[in-house]
């Protein structure tokens, strides 16, 4: 598959009014609202790093390139793309940008929108559009790169992406901190870590997750410290003042990302960091079978994957448990990533119903052939 082939497919779809389901490596197809499409446009074979200048710490890849391949290429120069969305490394860079997927590293290194320098896409009329560029700073023209990030394929088929890389840290260590004591004590440990540390990642894990990872029977904080040795040592000292950390293999992050696997429902609840910290201990301690809960206190995001063990577990009843996060001043945002098909219309029919979003969709995909329905309409 090449950009020309994508253009040809889009043109054909326009002519025949055949809506397209756009796919990368199809690792995350259950996400989003059901798509009304008769034909699949897969970018899987459109893969490969097309330009990599280690000295510039920039890399350009075709949309179908897997994150694993990008990491492999970058590693050759002791560099990496600090982007670790939940799911597997076989997910493609195109889909990662299209869905704005991020993971535990994002509170430090940024979301996909922050790591993206430019992209190429084919809009719903078959025009090849270039956005941004290959340099690390650029304000030429309106920001189509940010517009396409998180647009779930509904504004254009992303065909190529340029991202910013970082040097691999000389030291990169992971520690597990069991959360013990009263809920108040736990909250104060979490808050102390939030204030005192600048970790690469800080995730709080609920009991079900902890068990699945074989890390015991208590909620834990997973702390990833990175940088030069001096930084990591200093941070470790700071951490040891707060609690008793135990070092574990950093493979745990990969396992964590893959854990939710085929969970039928995944939601993200986001709020202010302090609010999240305030309720974290109670939520994590609550044993809800089959519900995998992780919290990134710095980003203020709780991720809930449900229905893994018990088929019947309904996302809505799980959400109700988070009432105290949802109520009161300074509200919460709930982002539904994945739900059983029949729930969408009830829970979140659309996130693009406002006039601006509709106007943009109409301009970029006038025939409504790109992933129609996935964000609602």
């Amino acid at each position: 598959m090449t950009t020309e082939a994508v253009v040809a497919t889009v043109h054909e779809s326009v002519d025949t009014r055949t809506p397209l389901r756009i796919c990368g490596n199809s690792t995350w197809l259950g996400a989003g609202r059901p798509v009304r499409a008769d034909k699949t446009l897969s970018l899987q074979s459109d893969s490969g790093v097309t330009e990599y200048v280690p000295g510039d710490l920039t890399l350009t890849a075709r949309a179908g390139t897997s994150l694993a391949e990008i990491q492999h290429v970058a590693k050759g120069n002791d560099q990496w793309l600090p982007l670790d969305p939940y799911g597997s490394e076989s997910g493609t860079i195109g889909a990662t940008i299209a869905t704005a997927s991020a993971g535990p590293l994002s509170a430090t290194f940024g979301l996909p929108r922050d790591l993206l320098l430019g992209l190429q896409f084919v809009n719903g009329s078959g025009d090849v559009v270039r956005a941004g560029g290959k340099v690390v700073k650029n304000v030429a023209g309106f920001d189509l790169s940010r517009l396409l990030t998180g647009s779930w394929g509904t504004l254009g088929v992303i065909t190529e992406v340029t991202v910013r890389l970082y040097a691999r840290p000389r030291s990169d260590r992971t520690f597990v901190v069991p959360l013990t004591g009263s809920l108040v004590e736990q909250a104060s440990v979490i808050q102390a870590m939030y204030v005192a540390l600048s970790p690469f990642a800080l995730q709080l894990l609920g009991v079900t997750v902890v068990r699945a990872l074989g890390l015991g029977e208590l909620p834990v904080a997973l702390v990833r410290l990175g940088g030069n040795e001096a930084v990591v040592d200093a941070q470790l000292k700071a951490l040891a003042k707060i609690t008793k950390p135990g070092e574990i293999e950093s493979e745990v992050w990969g396992t964590l990302r893959e854990l939710e696997g085929s969970a039928p429902s995944v939601i993200r609840i986001s709020s202010m960091p302090m609010r999240m910290i305030g309720t974290a201990a109670r939520i994590l301690a609550e044993e809800v079978p089959g519900v995998y809960t992780t919290i990134d206190p710095r980003r203020g995001v709780m991720r809930v994957a449900a229905g893994i063990e018990s088929e019947g577990s309904e996302i809505e009843t799980d959400v109700v448990n988070f009432d105290d996060l949802k109520s009161g001043e300074g509200s919460t945002e709930i982002i539904f990533e994945k739900l059983p098909a029949e729930l969408w219309s009830r829970v979140s029919p659309s996130v693009v119903a406002d006039p601006l979003s509709r106007g943009i969709k109409k301009a970029y995909d006038p025939f409504n052939i790109l992933n129609p329905g996935i964000l609602g309409d």
């Binding site: 200048v53 940010r146 647009s151 691999r168 980003r299 982002i335 996130v351 006039p355 601006l356 943009i360």
Partner: protein, 500 residues
């Protein structure tokens, strides 16, 4: 049918605007409007018809609604420090926002603040500094420019190398669209899905409406800051050292470059920072973070500098020394006012590995045309500012300067770079948009703009040349009237001291 004369119409609009904001805050006499006929970029003058200065959010909305009702075009304006002619209004209405300067809320624990658009960047930083926080984007114009202007330009600054530009520090904003409708973009309290309209608005250069308030992310102050000055007898060595530091993987908080002509002009000015006058280049490097880690990185950076030919690497001993080293850098544009009556401040980006090569090219171009280029720039990002001081009264010199600038810009484009890293396209760079974007990209930008502003009344005639928009292809005169094909004027007028 009789049309009311332009002046009657202006008088009636002024009166209605005065009803909203009070008479004192509407200017319509040409003599009063002189101050608003330029921004930070010398060389362009455009006389607005009226300038109106709302004093509150409600007044701003009312003003925009009135202009919508009357279908009148307008230009939002912050402090007017922009360097691409973005805030200029050509016989249309300026909506000045500097009176909206309230810090609306500050949430220390969650590290965020909500401010009105007229809040000056440095004022926000002074406000949060005692709380151990900072607002990271720090344009050199921080003492004057507004957060609204920063959002509109997606402003950068020396410390954006490590911390990122404005885009990376904004959670949400409220915007009054040119139609008068008020919308909330992004989320103040969390993350939101759907299209990233906040991302689309940032850097929209006043063309998508008026920001009424902005919720920004605050960053904890680093534990330690170390500032180094490395001086070189060769520009080439300094350029190679820059590339080497970036390639080493260390991310300095800032990595700034000043060449010989810049050093000497700064040292001759009241902003003298103690840079060695006989150096051909200095690098101002800042490292910050956790003390132990910073010290380790400092040693690596010092080694790279010395191995790369630095004569000397000086580390600032205290905050006073540090401030002095920075003052020379931050006031360099101002100091250049001494060289000649006029100054072109240029802004372009190149891949960082191409730095040595491009600086040689710039040097060759300046020799060829007999002009003096002063390079002072954000080297770590590859964001160049080749500036030329000259006298616009001299037509022959102006021509040479203009030729040299065009060649420099083209060299940056050929190197795979961008035509602007932080100052925006505005009026000044429109002519280059077609050299870096295909027609389809320009059209997609036009379409996005049309969604926010179907009537194209907010800052018309900026950023994307109007003839690039598909639906305007039929308009014959568009190309002729567009600034895209008109060489930037090098008007004979004294350059103002740059706003500081």
């Amino acid at each position: 049918m009789t049309q009311p004369s332009a002046s009657t119409q202006r008088a009636s609009v002024s009166a209605r605007l005065a009803d909203i904001v009070g008479e004192r805050h509407v200017l319509s006499r040409p003599s009063e409007l002189l101050v608003y006929n330029s921004d930070g970029l010398p060389g362009y003058r455009r006389q607005p018809s009226i300038a109106v200065f709302p004093g509150s959010r409600e007044e701003t909305i009312a003003v925009v609604r009135l202009l919508a009702e009357e279908e009148l075009p307008f230009v939002p304006r912050g402090a007017g420090t922009g360097l691409s002619g973005g805030a200029l209004a050509d016989d249309i209405i300026v909506v000045g926002l500097h009176r909206l300067k309230k810090i609306l809320s500050l949430d220390i624990d969650n590290r965020r603040a909500t401010v009105e658009p007229g809040v000056v960047n440095l004022r926000l930083n002074r406000h949060v500094a005692p709380l151990g926080l900072l607002y990271a984007p720090d344009p050199s114009s921080e003492a004057a420019c507004t957060i609204g202007g920063n959002i509109a330009e997606n402003a950068g600054g020396p410390h954006c190398l490590k911390y990122g530009v404005t885009l990376n520090h904004v959670h949400a904003m409220t915007v009054v669209l040119p139609s008068g409708e008020v919308v909330e973009l992004g989320s103040r309290t969390g993350e939101r899905d759907g299209y990233d309209l906040r991302g689309a608005f940032i850097g929209s250069e006043g063309c998508f409406g008026v920001a009424l308030d902005v919720t920004v992310r605050l960053t904890p102050k680093p534990q330690t800051v170390r500032t180094l000055l490395a001086d070189f007898t060769s520009v080439d060595d300094a350029a190679r050292v820059t590339s080497a530091i970036i390639a080493s993987g260390i991310v300095p908080a800032a990595l700034e470059f000043m060449d010989g002509p810049t050093i000497r002009v700064v040292e001759d000015s009241i902003y003298a920072a103690g840079y060695p006058r006989d150096a051909e280049a200095v690098l101002l490097i800042e490292l910050d973070g956790i003390e132990a880690g910073v010290d380790a990185d400092l040693e690596v950076v010092r080694r790279i500098c010395l191995d790369g030919g630095a004569r000397n690497v000086k580390v600032a001993r205290d905050d006073i020394e540090r401030a002095k080293l920075w003052q020379g850098r931050k006031k360099a544009f101002g100091a250049m006012g001494r060289l000649a009556p006029h100054l072109i401040v240029q802004d372009a980006v190149i891949p960082r590995t191409k730095l040595p090569e491009i600086l040689q090219t710039i040097h060759a171009i300046s020799e060829k045309h007999g002009v003096l280029v002063c390079n002072v720039f954000h080297a770590g990002d590859g964001n160049l500012h080749p500036n030329i001081a000259y006298s616009a009264d001299n037509a022959e010199e102006s021509k040479r300067v203009h030729k040299a600038m065009t060649e420099i810009m083209n060299a940056c484009i050929d190197a795979g770079g961008s035509i602007t890293g932080e100052h925006g396209v505005g009026l000044d760079k429109m002519g280059y948009m077609e050299s870096i974007f295909p027609a389809s990209s320009l059209n997609a930008m036009c379409e996005l703009r049309s969604v926010f502003d179907p009537g194209r009344r907010s800052n018309p005639g900026k950023v994307v040349p109007v003839h690039s928009c598909k639906e305007w292809h039929g308009v014959k005169s568009a190309r002729e009237t567009s600034a895209a094909t008109v060489p930037p004027p090098l008007a004979a007028e004294p350059s103002r001291p740059v706003a500081q």
